[in-house]
Structures are given as C-alpha cells and as structure tokens.
C-alpha cells in the first residue's frame, strides 16, 4: 500500500516534470506595438518568459489543468486570463492596456507649469543657474533675461516680455503676488530685485498662457518657489568692497524644522570712488537689508513657511538737466520696505491637497526732485519745462492678501484645482503736500482641471473671475491648454487664454473711471527634452485691448482712458545642453518679436520704445575641477530700439515730433567662481570667491533718448558707468546633518 502510493506520487511528479505544454502568443499594447521585456507567466508557478522585441512569447510548462495566465509590465495594467492546460499547445494573444501614470503622462508646458515640480517645468532655473550667469550679479531678473521672450532693457527694472511693459510681468512667491519685487525705481537706472536667488529652489518663467491660478499680469509671470528646509545648519559671512553680509541658519536635529536670520549692509562709497560714475552722487547709495525665516514640517507631511524681509535705503544723485545747459536734476530717495509671506501646504487625505498663502507688505518711498544750479542750490525758473522738475513725493503702498487653493485627484491622474484670493491694496500718495488715497478690495475665484485623456494627450482647462472695487468692475478670464506627446520626451502643446490687469496706480490716482486692460494669448510650442538637453520653440500671437491711453486736454493737462490697443507676435528658440562637453553647460535663446501698440501718448500704432525685433543670448558655464574654478560668459545681442518724442499739437492730439532707432546692443558679461573647499569630505568651512564684470568689451549702451520740452535737445540714456565690477568672498561654516537624517529615516 505504502509503496504503491509512493509509486503513484513519483509517477505523478515524473509526469509533471516530463510532460510539458507550450504556451505561446503575441503580446501587444493597445496600439498594437510590441512590448519587449513584458513578463508572461502561469500564476503561482515558476513557468513563464518575457516577450521578445517583436512582441512574441513562448514557453513550456509542466502545469496542468485550469490555471491563470498573467502578463505584466511597468506602466501597463496587468492582464490575467483563465486557461486550461492539456497536452496540446495553448495560444493566447495578449493586449496590455497602458496605465495612466504621472511619470509617463505628458504635462502641458505651453506657458504653464506645475509649481513644485521643477523636473517638469518648462524653463526652470535653479539658484546655482542664476548666480552663475556671467555678468548677472546673482540677480534673478538678469538671469531670466537670458531666456527667450525677454527684452534687454537696461534703463529700468522689470521684465519686458513679448511686447509687454515691465508692469505686465508679475512675480509670485509661493503662490502669492509680490507688490514691490524691485528696489524703488530711479530715473534711467535699473534696480535689482529684492530677493536672493538662494531663497528659491526653482524659478519658473512663463512668457504667457499661464494657469488660471495667477492673475493681474497681462504678459508674463515669474513664479518663485521657496526652499523647504535647508540642507544643514550654517553660519555665513560675505565680504566685498560693496557689501557685507552675515547670517545664521539652524536646522533642527530631527530635520523637521529650521529658522534663520540674515543681515546685509551695502555701501557704494568706496566703489564709486574707484569706478567713476556718470551721475554725481550727493548721497552715496546705502542699503540695510535684514531677513528672517522659519519653516517646519507638519505631522501629515505638509509644510509651513514664514519669510520676512526688511530693508532701508538712501541715495541721491544729480544729472545735467536736458532742458537747460547749466542746470542739474537732483533726485533723492529714501525707501523703507517690509515684506511678509506665510504659506501652508498640506495633504488633507483622500486625495485632497491644500495650499494657503498669506502676505503683508508695506513700502514707503520718500522722493525729492529738485532743479539745481551749479552751486547745487534749488531753483524755480518760471518756464513751462521747469514746473514738473521740483517736487516731493511721499508714497506708502500696502498690500494684505490671502489665497487658498484646494486640489483633488479625480479619476485616474486627472486633477481639479480651485480656490480664491483676496487682496487689499492701500496706496497713500502725497505729491507736493497734496494727499490722495487709493484703496482696492480685489477678489478672485478660480478653478482649473488637468484632464488626461491618455498618457499622450492632456488638457488643462480653467478660468478665473475677478472683481476690483476701485474699478467697480468684474471680469472672467478663460484659460485652456493642450499637450500631445509626439515621441520620447517630445511634445506639441497649445495654449489660449485671456488675461486682465488693473491700470497702474499712478494712473488710477488721477481717475478710477477706467476698465481692466486686456490681452489674449495664443501660443504653440514644440519641445524635445532629455535629461541634459532641451530644445524648445514657441510661436505666439498676443492681442492687446483696452490699454491705457493719454488724451491731452492742453499743454499741462491730460486724461486717461482705455482706448489703446496693440498686438505682438513672434517666434522663439531655446537650446540648452549640459551633456555634450563634460562640466560645460550652455544655453542659447533667440527671440523674434513683431509688435506695435497704441498706448499712453502714442498717437498711432507704433513699435514701443521697449521692443526690438531680434534678441540673442548665449550663456556658457565651464567648470574646471583641477583648479576648482568656474568661468562663465554671457553674450547678449539685441537690435536697436525705437525712440520717440511726442508733442502736444495744441489741438487735442499728440504728434511724433522726432523718432529714431538706437544702435544695436552688445553685452559680454563674465564671472569667475573659485571653490577651494570643493571635494573635501565634510568640510567645516565652505567658501567661494566670486568675481564678475559686465560689458567686458566696453560697448557704449544707448537705451533711448530723453528729449527736452522743446524737442530741440535730446540726450542719450545709458548706464551710470560703462562696466560694473564685483568681487567678494562668501563663507559658510556648516554642520552637515544629512547623515543623521538618512539614518533616522531608514
């Protein structure tokens, strides 16, 4: 009995071992393409194989009876089918359906971007990219100007994008609008941005067609996303003839929270004594900047961040007056700025996410403008041109805001996002002692959805509703974009959107009987990117309507209305390559722009004085590890810009009294950074020596011309000095907590 059972068993096993059945067939995806490497097997057995490059599979099995045939591959839904295995071959053709996945799916890039996802954003600059732009002096705006779409404007701050003015580009930090992103304007001088590039993990520049989450920007949005927690605790010190900085950053041992403070003092007296400046500085520029932050991770993986910056600055400068041979214009500025940003990002569970942002900022400018004689004594000549040259302005601009965005995962990976924001603007202005006040309660409600039809086709559809109390008007702005994947890392996308923006405060102070200005964007993009290379080209058409126009009443008085209009169209190319040459990173941007507008005093549609047809930027960065030194060159070329002199014709109209085009613009910027602590494992001290110079070749820049009241005299507008030099050393004493954190998390 025992023997016979054993014999039966042996026989059974033997038969299982030796009687094999072939299982075979074709394995394809839902488009009929083979999936090489996809796995096919009999469930709960060892038997199986992988599909070959033609999509065929074939294996033999010793299994018998009713079994399950399963097929799997990453990125596809798994396949399972009951089969009966007998003695004859089993033929099963398998189709694997592609799974919608965030990793594989196409992301809409036409002017839009997913904040916090720097891997995917269209044109992203990280902080190191920004500070190593040759001649950029670690200014975010200077680095962004090397990207397609931005004009090379040197006589005023701001980003002039695709035929738009600097006012039409807005900056957002962690989702909320920044009211005074630059140091206060000085006539014919571009000021720097207030924020250090090291505050941000990503700088995303959108030249148009951006998401419904952002408003109040007619042309462009610069989205800055602040870093979460620093990598280590550190004390820092920066020393240069211009600037002295010190700071401390503390990262908690558990890597869950951090706080930090920084202080910087800028004084240009020593520098201006060595490098002669065109204007006569009667008050040397002096800046005190302080900032503080705290950040912590919440229990459910969210993040709360607070950042504040405070700055106080003074300066005064004199230039020859354009109307009179021997008089001077003296401009003085005292500025006080306090900016606060509190943000809270949280996972609420069940596919819900929340982003809250709150901000408060106040900016006070005390401006004095005087007409002075050769002894620097104020004069009040009784001439038409002189009336506007003696004044004092005290201006206080405050913005309080709150924004909430909620996000919910829908079916598959599609997402809906919606929210609301409230902005409370208070502007107090005092011009020669006469006071005025402008208050705006601005509200918006917005929603957008990311819909994935397949991994290759996605749409972003959204809209926003805005209401401004000062205009007492509302608007609805639809935004739509589509993306279609045309190959590995390649996509074609299209965007359409309507954008509204309030007129500038300097206009609203005179009349609130105005409407929103309006722009409609149409953008078509092709992009191909791999890990280290990106090629992007974009064509766009932008239609402006309801721009603010100045209608003259007489020689001294004019009114504003919304009768302006215009267009901009063009094509842009961008190529960045970090791969071809080791330790060499470069990018090339080219923009072609055709734009005309009728706005302000423009009597007809003209190419605006801030726009030129051709702009080319070449940014190169080469790091030599042997000498631990990086050399960065940036070359920028732009064709000339038009300039105009508009004069009142005495009959209710402006005319073009004179016009011309400036010579073309060439700039070669250079910077060098020496990093001696590079490569030392766990260095206690990390330091960098930085040197930089703008306009290496000493080209004479002419940005435009200032005309005298009579139109008889014109003076070129150029930089205060041919070149700007910088040298400085930055030290960081740090405690690296990376190892602690890794050990604790494992």
């Amino acid at each position: 009995m025992r023997k016979s059972i054993a014999a039966v068993i042996v026989l059974l096993i033997a038969s299982q071992l030796y009687s094999q059945t072939i299982i075979q067939g074709k394995l394809r995806d839902n488009k009929g393409k083979p999936i090489p490497g996809a796995s096919v097997s009999i469930k709960d057995s060892y038997d199986g194989t992988v599909a070959d490059s033609l999509g065929s599979y074939k294996f033999s099995t010793t299994e018998k009876g009713d079994r399950s045939l399963i097929a799997t591959n990453i990125g596809y839904k798994s396949f399972e089918q009951k089969i009966t295995i007998g003695s004859t071959p089993v033929v099963v053709d398998i189709m694997l359906k592609e799974e919608l996945s965030e990793l594989k799916a196409v992301t809409v890039i036409s002017g839009s971007f997913a904040a916090g996802d720097s891997k995917r954003a269209a044109t992203v600059l990280n902080s190191i990219d920004v500070v190593t732009v040759g001649g950029g002096n670690a200014d975010i705006t200077a680095a962004v100007k090397t990207l397609p779409g931005a004009q090379q404007i040197g006589e005023q701050e701001g980003l002039f994008v695709r035929g738009g003015t600097g006012y039409e580009t807005k900056q957002f930090i962690d989702g909320t609008l920044v009211n005074n992103p630059y140091f206060t304007s000085i006539p014919d001088l571009a000021t720097r941005g207030r924020f250090s590039p090291f505050l941000f993990k990503g700088t995303v520049f959108s030249a148009g067609g951006y998401s419904a989450l952002y408003g109040e920007a007619l042309s462009s949005a610069l989205i800055l996303e602040s870093i979460d927690l620093p990598e280590r605790s550190a004390a820092t010190l920066g020393v240069s003839p211009i600037i002295l900085t010190g700071g401390f950053q503390d990262l908690a041992k558990n890597k869950k929270s951090s706080w930090g403070i920084n202080y910087g003092y800028v004084n240009l007296i020593a520098y201006f004594n060595i490098v002669k400046q065109e204007p006569d500085y009667f008050k040397m520029p002096e800046f005190h900047n302080a900032d503080a932050n705290f950040r912590f991770k919440t229990k459910s993986g969210g993040m709360i961040k607070y950042y504040t910056t405070f700055s106080y600055s003074k300066l005064g400068l004199r230039r020859p007056d354009v109307d009179s041979g021997d008089l001077k214009d003296a401009f003085g500025l005292k500025n006080l700025n306090w900016y606060n940003n509190l943000s809270w990002r949280e996972n609420l569970g069940r596919g819900w996410k929340m982003n809250l942002g709150m901000g408060y900022s106040t900016n006070t400018d005390n401006i004095t403008q005087q007409l002075q004689d050769q002894n620097n004594q104020q004069l009040f000549p009784n001439a038409p041109w002189a009336f506007v040259k003696n004044y004092t302005i005290k201006s206080i601009q405050q913005l309080t805001q709150a924004k909430a965005v909620f996000e919910k995962k829908l079916f598959g990976i599609s997402t809906i996002r919606f929210g609301s924001e409230y902005l409370y603007w208070v502007n107090n202005n005092e011009y020669n002692g006469s006071k005025s006040r402008l208050i705006d309660n601005f509200q918006s409600v917005f929603a957008e959805t990311d819909i994935y039809v397949t991994n290759d086709l996605a749409a972003k559809i959204g809209g926003r509703f805005e209401n401004s109390s000062v205009l007492n008007k509302s608007n609805i702005a639809p935004r739509i974009s589509l993306a279609y994947k045309v190959g590995v890392g390649a996509q074609v996308s299209a965007a359409y959107g309507i954008f509204y923006q309030k007129p500038e405060n300097t206009q609203l102070i005179y009349t609130t009987n105005l409407d929103y200005t309006k722009a409609t964007h149409y953008i078509l993009t092709y992009q191909k990117s791999t890990n280290d290379r990106i090629f992007r080209t974009e064509i766009f058409y932008k239609k402006y309507a309801d721009l603010i126009k100045t209608e003259p009443i007489n020689y001294y008085y004019s009114i504003y209305n919304n009768a302006g209009s215009g267009y901009a169209k063009g094509i842009e190319f961008f190529w960045r390559d970090k791969k071809s040459i080791k330790n060499f990173d470069y990018w090339i941007s080219y923009s072609y722009l055709d734009t005309k507008r009728e706005y302000l005093a423009y009597p007809e549609k003209l190419r605006p004085d801030f726009a030129t047809p051709h702009t080319l930027s070449i940014v190169t960065k080469r790091f030599f590890t042997d000498i631990k030194t990086g050399f960065n060159f940036t070359y920028t070329y732009a064709t000339g810009r038009p300039y105009y002199d508009f004069m009142y014709d005495g009959n209710g109209k402006y005319t073009i009294a004179d016009r011309g085009t400036t010579k073309s613009f060439h700039n070669l910027g250079f910077s060098v950074n020496y990093v001696p602590s590079l490569g030392k494992t766990n260095p206690k001290l990390f330091w960098v020596l930085v040197g930089s110079v703008t306009n290496v070749l000493g080209y004479d820049f002419v940005y435009g011309y200032n005309y005298s009241f009579s139109g008889m005299n014109k003076e070129p507008i150029g930089p205060p000095a041919k070149r700007f030099y910088f040298i400085g050393a930055f030290f960081s004493w740090g405690v690296d907590r990376t190892q602690d954190a890794i050990n604790n998390n494992l």
Binding site: M1, I5, I9, V50, N531, K628, T738, I742, L746
Partner: protein
C-alpha cells in the same frame, strides 16, 4: 495510513524545495551566461516568477534586483530612473521576507547600487539627493552586518570612481578595497546566498597598487 499521509506530505514539501532549488540553480546559471540588457531582464523576470510563486523566499527577489543592476552600469540607453525604481520595488518585496540582519544588509547593497546608478546620470546635480541616499543605505547596511564584504567593495568602488578633486581616487579607495578582499576570503555564504564581488574587488585593488 497516517504514516503514508505524513510521508506523502513530506515528500511533497521535499519535492517542492527541490523544485525551488533546481529552479533557482537554473536561473543562477542563466544569470551567469547573461550578456545583454534583454538577457538580464529575462533573468530578473524568471527570478521574480519564482518569488511570486514561492511567497516566502527573499532570495528570488534579491537576485531579480541584482540582475537589473547589471545593465544599469553598462547600458547607456537604459532609463536609469525607471530601472532603479524597479530594483527598489523588488528590494521592498525581498526586505519583507528577509529573515535576519545579514539578509537585510545584502538587500541594502542592491539599493545602494540602484541609487548610485541614478546619481551617475548627472553627478553635479544629483549628488545631493541620490549620492546621499546611496551612502545612507551603505552605512545602514554596515550597522546590520559589519562583515558583509560586498559593502566595502561598493564603498571602495565609489571612492575609486570619484575624481581626486572631489575626495576620491585610488589611494583613498585602497584601504577600503583591502578590507573587502580580506572579508571575502573569510566569507562562507550558505548555498544560493550572495557570493558575488570577490573577483571585482581583487581586480580593482590590483589597479590601486
């Protein structure tokens, strides 16, 4: 009759483990002769099938992960991130079945290779994330089993491959590789357990002399 039943069930168990051993050996042989990316992916799939069928063995998943690390070093066209994600997913499965710290330290060695391969894609920008991740796996693995020779081989190879300016180089790699070779000589792995790395460590050490 009871005896017969016991015998029968023990025979089944025995046959099962013999079948497992035979299948593992067959796949290990296939591993040894694999050359192309497709070969290694086939080997990995075969090991994964054994793991899925067995449900209690960590070694099949371990070898599936190890097989996928092979093209990660050599195939320039391979999507390193996707490959590393697959390897790490296999390590998760293996880790859930691992019996002791020795097993777990072997799995961490595989994770280290996956992270290193992701780092190599773009060392300057990825060092701070994947480089640190890999170093973390290695130090954790050493805590679990300080005598695992493969950990010192991987550490030594990492130093060997890093330029001197960045704190790497042959001189610094040498003592670590020496320690690896010593440990390999003393190492007595159980049947089917990981035994790779000795030859590579010795060859690399020879280059440091």
């Amino acid at each position: 009759m009871i005896l017969a039943f016991v015998l029968l069930s023990s025979m089944v168990v025995n046959a099962q483990s013999e079948k497992y051993a035979a299948a593992m050996q067959k796949d290990l042989d296939m591993f040894d002769s694999a050359k192309t990316t497709a070969d290694f992916q086939g080997v990995a799939a075969a090991f994964e099938r054994i793991g899925d069928a067995e449900k209690t063995q960590w070694l099949p998943y371990y070898y599936a992960g190890l097989a996928l690390t092979m093209p990660g070093w050599t195939d320039t066209k391979l999507d390193k991130d996707a490959n590393a994600e697959r390897i790490k997913a296999l390590c998760d499965k293996a880790d859930a079945l691992a019996k002791d710290n020795t097993d777990k330290s072997e799995i961490l060695a595989i994770r280290n290779m996956a992270a290193t391969q992701q780092m190599i894609v773009d060392p300057p920008t990825r060092w701070s994330t994947y480089g640190q991740e890999g170093a973390g796996y290695l130090s954790k693995a050493k805590q679990l089993n300080p005598n695992n020779p493969r950990l010192y081989y991987l550490e030594g190879a990492g130093i060997f491959g890093t330029p001197e300016q960045f704190g790497g180089g042959k001189t610094k790699a040498k003592p670590v590789l020496q320690k690896a070779v010593e440990l390999f000589k003393a190492d007595q792995p159980k049947p089917m357990y990981p035994r790779w790395g000795q030859k590579q460590a010795e060859e690399m050490l020879a280059q440091c002399q």
